[in-house]
């Protein structure tokens, strides 16, 4: 019998399998969770304490950069290719144009402070480089890169005119404090775009320093840092904004982490093909700090009562709004762009960066925007938008003389000035991707459908509420896309 001693093991295994297999086959497990968004979030790298690695004295920013480059040899060249340094895109072909153009703060204008040409002293305060004074700036010198802007403790380091370190900054202490960029690093420029807290974006402001869940679920409830989503490799920072980048390359999407049908609800998931996640999940902008919705340059220069949120002599009149309801438009990720020198019709609103997409564009989805309207100067003879000298020597902010502001800036901006100016309406679209509300505060069906008024169906190209008229992919009323 010896040879059969362990045959019972096979019997046991067979018996157990006979029970286990049917159980596995027939007992229905709970449906798997829709998605594990955390799989899209890279682990935070361990910080390296630089205080022991750097010593001596630093006389200037570039000296710090040189020290950084001693170890981070590639970083300099990487940064020279980064739009955070170049402030200019790769050449792109925009619709209706024969030639490619480059787009960026460097060479284009917006409808806030208008353009950097001639105004480097103030504008380049937010440039990730040192000492950008004029059009002759050396974009090939890696030592011009400002590492500290993004990597130093913002409590130690700050930037001043022309992007140079602010007066009195202890560069050694700043250099020793470097680490992974925090919300404050990014926020030192991006929370204050347009010249002050909350001015520009409508979905980014100082409330992100210590955000609550109501401000942004990712950064508030889950304590995300900007770079958790704006993933960066070789100093190429993920993300794009149609104010400075016309194509959707390098875009960050919710579906980078979240499933594309994440709702556990077929009706909601069916919306994904037509409605951007942001439309429901960012129900309003400027949830804490009011943002600038309109800017009228034509009233600048007068001695009117001043208030940061209504009128400043140097800038004109403003409208600020808190908790604004976004403007919804079809958007396929790309935008048209007003290029310096394009002629405008001053009677009509010039769209600086019209989002592209329409109801018949399957890639386009209904997307929320902050629309910033402005009345800004243009050349009344050449019919193009002008970049005034505001912050530069003899600029409008000191002289309050428009003529001089335009004349003195012709060389800097490359725009000839005829001697006659006017003010024309413009609008810029700002995509909204932050201020994501917790899901329990996302928009509900009846915000848009039924008696809800959030979406203007006919303006979007629908015959009526698609709840009743059918979606754009259905043919209840013919091809809705036409």
């Amino acid at each position: 019998m010896k040879e059969f001693k362990y045959t019972w093991v096979f019997g046991l295994v067979a018996t157990v399998l006979l029970v286990a297999l049917p159980l596995v086959a027939f007992v229905e497990p709970d449906p798997a969770p829709a998605d594990d968004a955390w799989s899209g979030v890279a682990p935070t790298p361990a910080p390296t304490d630089h205080s022991a690695l750097l010593s001596g004295t630093f006389e200037s920013g570039p000296q710090v950069t040189a020290a950084c480059l001693n170890c981070h040899e590639e970083a300099g060249q990487e940064m020279l290719r980064s739009t955070h340094f170049t402030w200019e895109s790769e050449p792109v072909l925009l619709p209706g144009r024969d030639e490619t153009v480059t787009i960026g703060k460097k060479n284009q204008l917006n409808n806030f402070c208008i353009g950097i040409a001639g105004n480097w002293s103030k504008c380049t305060t937010c440039h990730a480089g040192y000492d950008w004074q004029d059009n002759e700036y050396d974009f090939s010198n890696a030592e011009n890169v400002d590492c500290l802007a993004c990597h130093a403790d913002t409590g130690i380091y700050g930037k001043g005119e022309y992007g140079n370190p602010a007066e009195g900054v202890d560069l050694l202490a700043a250099a020793q404090s470097v680490g992974r960029p925090t919300r404050d690093n990014c926020g030192s420029c991006h929370f204050s775009g347009g010249g002050g807290n909350a001015v520009k974006h409508g979905d980014l402001d100082g409330s992100f320093t210590f955000p609550s869940a109501e401000v942004d679920v990712h950064m508030g409830r889950l304590d995300f840092q900007c770079v958790d989503c704006h993933r960066t490799e070789d100093h190429q920072i993920g993300g794009h904004m149609i104010s400075v980048s016309a194509t959707d390359e390098n875009a960050i999407g919710c579906t980078d982490c979240h499933a594309s049908a994440p709702h556990d609800n077929a009706r909601l998931d069916a919306h994904v093909a037509t409605v951007a996640c942001e439309s429901c999940h960012i129900p309003q902008g400027a949830v804490r700090d009011a943002t600038k919705m309109a800017w009228d340059w034509s009233t600048a220069g007068q001695d009117l009562p001043e208030d940061t949120h209504t009128y400043l002599k140097i800038k004109g009149s403003f409208v600020y709004e808190e908790n604004f309801v976004p403007t919804y438009a079809w958007f396929n990720g790309n935008a048209d762009r007003y290029i310096l020198g394009d002629t405008i019709n001053p009677q009509e609103t010039t769209l600086i960066n019209r989002p592209l997409g329409a109801i018949d564009d399957p890639d386009a989805r209904i997307t929320p925007f902050k629309v910033h309207e402005a009345i800004q100067p243009y050349d009344a003879v050449y019919n193009y938008l002008l970049i005034p000298n505001t912050a530069g020597p003899g600029g409008f902010w000191t002289e309050f003389d428009w003529q001089r502001a335009f004349e003195s800036n012709q060389e800097n901006s490359g725009l000839a000035y005829s001697g006659e100016y006017g003010f024309a309406p413009t609008a810029m679209y700002w995509t909204m991707s932050h201020m994501v509300a917790p899901k329990e505060r996302a928009l509900q069906c009846n915000a848009c459908h039924g008696e809800g008024t959030r979406l203007d169906w006919q303006a979007l190209g629908y015959p009526g509420d698609p709840m009743e008229w059918g979606s754009r992919f259905q043919t209840i009323v013919g091809d809705a896309g036409e």
Binding site: M1, G11, A14, T15, C445, N446, G450, T453, P463, M467
Partner: protein, 941 residues
């Protein structure tokens, strides 16, 4: 004036052909044809041009749908003259009647009728209280509103018809009893009669009847504007009714829009609001489909746009009715955004009602029953070969004669128009339960026993009335009340509705959620009537303070006011005092009566995420299904209230008066057959105590017996150490037999364990009930398959005879065996029976297995299968006694099987060594003593 149309046949007079129209009493002016032409043109445009023309010209977006459809119209008075010519009150019947058949509309509307056509003598309605005279607002007494419409002939009159219009007109659209007498004659033509409650009113000061001049007050036409304009001025309408200016109610509804301004006796039309042709533009008078907000003017809190937090206001207000009675709110707003101080509010991200969130309007379900968009005739009215009848009512015909009978369910207290009960599409008409409840085991069984609302309206968050006590009066002359859903710290907790048996449209009985409102009140006389409020106030109050005598009796702490604890009739003396005071007012034999009325809950629906999903919520000792509901904090006068069910709603539970004086309703799941409710046996909740105790006793006794036997063997072995016996190995059990045995072992242990969890889930909280049920079912399937295969094997191989007791010598052998186990085993005697390959089982085993395999196992399998079959073949299971019979039997057999296993396992230790037999069942080789050898052992190989 036409007599009101009282006949309500089945709904299928709904094809107003040419003939029907020709007989209509009204001639249609050119406006009708113009608007019809517009409608048809638009419809044509939609068809031809893919909707683009319609989109541009008619702007049919959701909120505006219908509004621009309606043309500018002139407003006409009752004489058909323009209101500007005489400045008279607008008449809906002439104004709207220019294009729509308003006589037809008013004659086919239970909203107008509110019980007039069903009015009878007190007690004549099928359900309700003995003094009810109709199934509707006009004649059905409700303790919440308290006032009683006195029938003709009552010596003591509470409400007369004109007073009813003044008071209840707030929730009545007009028409019906506000136009016609109880004999269905125009009220303006009734003749004064001193004893008629129709032409009199009771002077509130003196209590004396006085004549009511219907000519002066006018009557209340069915008010189209109340439901068909965007911003009806309901406040002004109600004020006009209360003031007795009945004919101006519709005019008042239009006030505030710039069209007409003023107040009683002084209404001025604004000529500027009319165009040169005398028409009112849609921009001034937005005539439209009724919005949900229109319905909310009478039916409860409705808020379709999430603009600003939903606040409830005074729940006593007429328009809060359904919210007051049930806590239902129809709004898509998330609870966390509401104005209510809800407990744990931040976590309540569900909307008040998911259908409101999904932008369903009231009329999407409660549609007009001849609306060609929604209405579909009953299957029974269609020949079998037709799936769909495309011949629909023409839109123009519908707009001419839109039936104002609306699809309705069958709600408790909603007893009006019973012929329309269940004309509503039910949850399952739109929703596919199977497609969305994959997670739910026994879907069919659950949906047969439970209405959708039972799980999908798990809690109501607005406060609902719990009780109302009219036996006492507060100093401002109203009843003492209690409300549900408020926590001790003042935060609103919401409440869990009671589950009552409801008869559904398909005839099935299912549990559905209800609020129960208990009420107590004084009644008097024979036949009984509720004590009129005026008498009640006279008995309690002296002006605006309590009568001194009353205060002295009730004010326990002597602070001069009556607190909540004092304002209750809790002694015979107090009861006698009030009864005496009522009697002194002329009320005969005043006595306290009480009732409990259910109010059904079908709104405030939650999606699956918020529905009751946890199995143990019902399958546990504190089952949701039988959870008691508090009715009142005290019982006035010690009078237990009557449980008032109706045709569709049955209260099978019982009242439970607790030690602290609170009164509860305790639902019952097992009620008599004739109730129509099939008795429920909820696994994990129900059990039969005697079965469990008997089973446990047998099990424990078996364990005890085996232990005692083992102990005796142990001591016997110590005294007489067993002699080493010569044994030899015999191959007894083949591979298949062993596999079969151990598989059965594993499965039976699994079944007993999972069965125990299902039986008493509260004791095994760590196991998910749902999985345990599934595991139990799969194991049971394996058991049955294994048993069937082995039966085949034993039959095919002839091994079956091993299990068949042989008659010859059976009892001798059995006796010898029994004797061995009772005596011989302790003395180390040899086994009287020698196992061989041919005969493995001794007679005792044979007998045991015979019972086990032929009785217990099949019984257990069959009861299990039929319990499982409650969802596949419910009628078969029901015919076998249903779960209430099968489940306890299954439990009992499980106990017996468990006991058998104890004995079986113990006896395996009686071999040469305790593990000998177990090893034999593993290896197949048993040891057989060689003392008295028998020849069969050669059969090895």
């Amino acid at each position: 004036m036409k007599k009101i149309q009282q006949t309500r046949g089945p709904l299928f007079y709904l094809r107003p052909g040419v003939n029907t129209r020709a007989t209509s009493g009204l001639t249609r002016g050119p406006l009708f044809y113009m608007s019809l032409a517009v409608v048809l043109l638009l419809a044509f445009a939609v068809l031809v041009d893919g909707g683009r023309v319609a989109a541009q010209e008619a702007e049919p977006d959701a909120e505006a749908a219908g509004a621009p459809m309606h043309p500018a119209i002139p407003l006409l008075d009752a004489e058909g003259e323009h209101v500007l010519s005489e400045g008279a009150a607008v008449s809906t019947m002439t104004t709207c009647g220019a294009c729509h058949d308003t006589a037809f509309i008013a004659g086919h509307s239970f909203h107008a009728d509110v019980g007039l056509s069903g009015l009878g003598t007190p007690g004549s309605p099928d359900a309700g209280l003995p003094w009810d005279t109709s199934p509707g607002l006009f004649g059905k007494w409700n303790p919440l509103t308290y006032r009683y419409l006195s029938p003709a002939g009552d010596s003591r009159v509470d409400l007369t018809t004109p007073e009813w219009v003044q008071l209840f007109g707030a929730r009545h659209v007009g028409g019906g009893p506000a136009i016609y007498s109880r004999d269905v004659l125009p009220l303006t033509e009734t003749t004064q009669a001193a004893d008629s409650p129709e032409t009199q009113r009771v002077n509130p000061e003196t209590g004396a009847p006085e004549p009511w001049d219907w000519q002066a007050s006018g009557t209340v036409e069915m008010n189209c504007f109340l439901c068909h304009t965007g911003q009806p001025n309901n406040e002004a309408r109600t004020a006009a009714l209360q003031s007795g200016a009945f004919s101006w109610a519709a005019t008042a509804t239009l006030s505030g829009s710039g069209l007409v301004e003023g107040a009683k006796g002084d209404w001025r039309w604004n000529a500027d609001a009319f165009d040169a042709q005398g028409n009112v533009a849609p921009s001034t008078l937005d005539i439209q489909d009724p919005s949900s907000a229109n319905c909310g003017a009478c039916h409860g809190v409705v808020e379709m746009v999430n603009e600003g937090p939903v606040a409830l206001g005074d729940l006593h207000a007429a328009e809060a009715w359904t919210t007051r009675t049930t806590g239902q709110v129809y709004s898509g707003e998330r609870l966390l955004n509401s104005a209510l101080n809800l407990e744990d509010k931040a976590s309540l991200s569900r909307p008040w009602d998911v259908h409101a969130e999904r932008a369903l309007n009231c009329s999407d379900c409660h549609y007009s029953l001849n609306n060609p968009i929604y209405f579909e005739g009953a299957d029974a009215n269609r020949p079998d070969h037709l799936l769909f009848d495309p011949r629909r009512l023409d839109l123009g015909d519908y707009l001419y004669r839109p039936l104002h009978e609306f699809a309705k369910g069958q709600s408790a207290q909603g007893t009006l128009a019973p012929e329309l009960d269940n004309s509503l599409r039910r949850c399952e008409s739109c929703h596919d339960v199977a497609a969305s409840h994959q997670w739910l085991p026994y879907k069919e069984r659950h949906t047969a026993a439970l209405s959708c609302e039972s799980c999908h309206a798990p809690a109501l968050y607005a406060p609902a009335q719990e009780s109302i006590d009219w036996t006492v009066l507060t100093v401002d002359g109203t009843a003492a009340e209690s409300w549900r859903g408020s926590g001790s710290d003042g935060l609103i907790t919401g409440y869990e509705p009671a589950l009552l048996a409801r008869e559904n449209g398909d005839g099935g009985m299912a549990l559905a959620p209800y609020n129960l409102i208990a009420s107590w009140y004084w009644i008097y006389g024979e036949p009984a009537r509720p004590a009129p409020l005026r008498d009640l106030r006279a008995a309690w109050l002296d002006g605006d303070a309590y009568a001194p005598e009353v205060l002295a009796a009730f004010d326990g702490n002597g602070d001069g006011r009556l607190g909540d604890e004092e304002l209750r009739i809790d002694t015979g003396a107090k009861e006698a005092l009030i009864a005496g005071r009522l009697e002194a007012l002329g009320l005969d034999n005043p006595r306290i009566s009480g009732s409990v009325q259910p109010y059904s809950i079908n709104h405030s629906v939650a999606t699956g995420e918020w529905a009751t999903k946890e199995c143990t919520e019902c399958h546990g000792s504190a089952s949701r299904v039988t959870r008691p509901m508090r009715l009142a904090g005290y019982v006035p006068g010690g009078v237990l209230p009557t449980l008032l069910g109706d045709d569709s709603t049955q209260l099978h539970g019982e009242l439970q008066l607790r030690q602290d004086g609170t009164l509860y309703y305790q639902p019952q799941t097992n009620v008599e057959e004739e109730s129509g409710l099939s008795p429920l046996y909820i696994l994990g909740h129900n059990s039969v105590d005697i079965v469990d105790w008997a089973g446990l006793f047998i099990f424990v006794a078996t364990v005890a017996g085996a232990s005692a036997h083992a102990g005796m063997r142990y001591f016997a072995a110590r005294r007489h150490p067993p002699k080493e016996k010569a044994v030899r190995q015999v191959y007894l059990f083949g591979v298949y037999e062993r596999l079969w045995h151990w598989l059965q072992t594993l499965v039976i242990f699994g079944l007993l364990f999972t069965g125990l969890i299902i039986h008493k889930p509260d004791q095994f909280g760590i196991f998910a009930f749902r999985y345990v049920v599934q595991v139990h079912n799969v194991l049971a399937a394996i058991l049955v398959a294994n048993a069937a295969l082995s039966a085949f094997y034993h039959l095919a191989s002839g091994e079956i005879q091993q299990f068949l007791p042989r008659p010859r010598g059976f009892f001798d052998h059995a006796f010898a065996e029994a004797k061995y186990y009772l005596q011989g085993i302790f003395r180390g005697e040899p086994l009287p029976f020698k196992k061989t390959r041919r005969q493995k089982l001794n007679p005792l085993q044979q007998a045991t297995y015979f019972v086990l395999l032929n009785v217990l196992l099949p019984l257990q399998a069959l009861t299990g299968i039929f319990m499982w079959g409650a969802q596949r073949w419910p009628s078969l299971t029901a015919s076998l006694g249903g779960l209430p019979f099968l489940a306890p039997l299954h439990t009992m057999v499980a106990w017996l099987l468990a006991s058998f296993i104890v004995m079986h396992v113990y006896l395996t230790t009686t071999g040469r060594t305790p593990t000998t037999y177990t090893r034999a069942m593993i290896t197949g080789w048993d040891e057989v003593e060689v003392v008295a050898q028998s020849g069969e052992a050669k059969g090895v190989s």
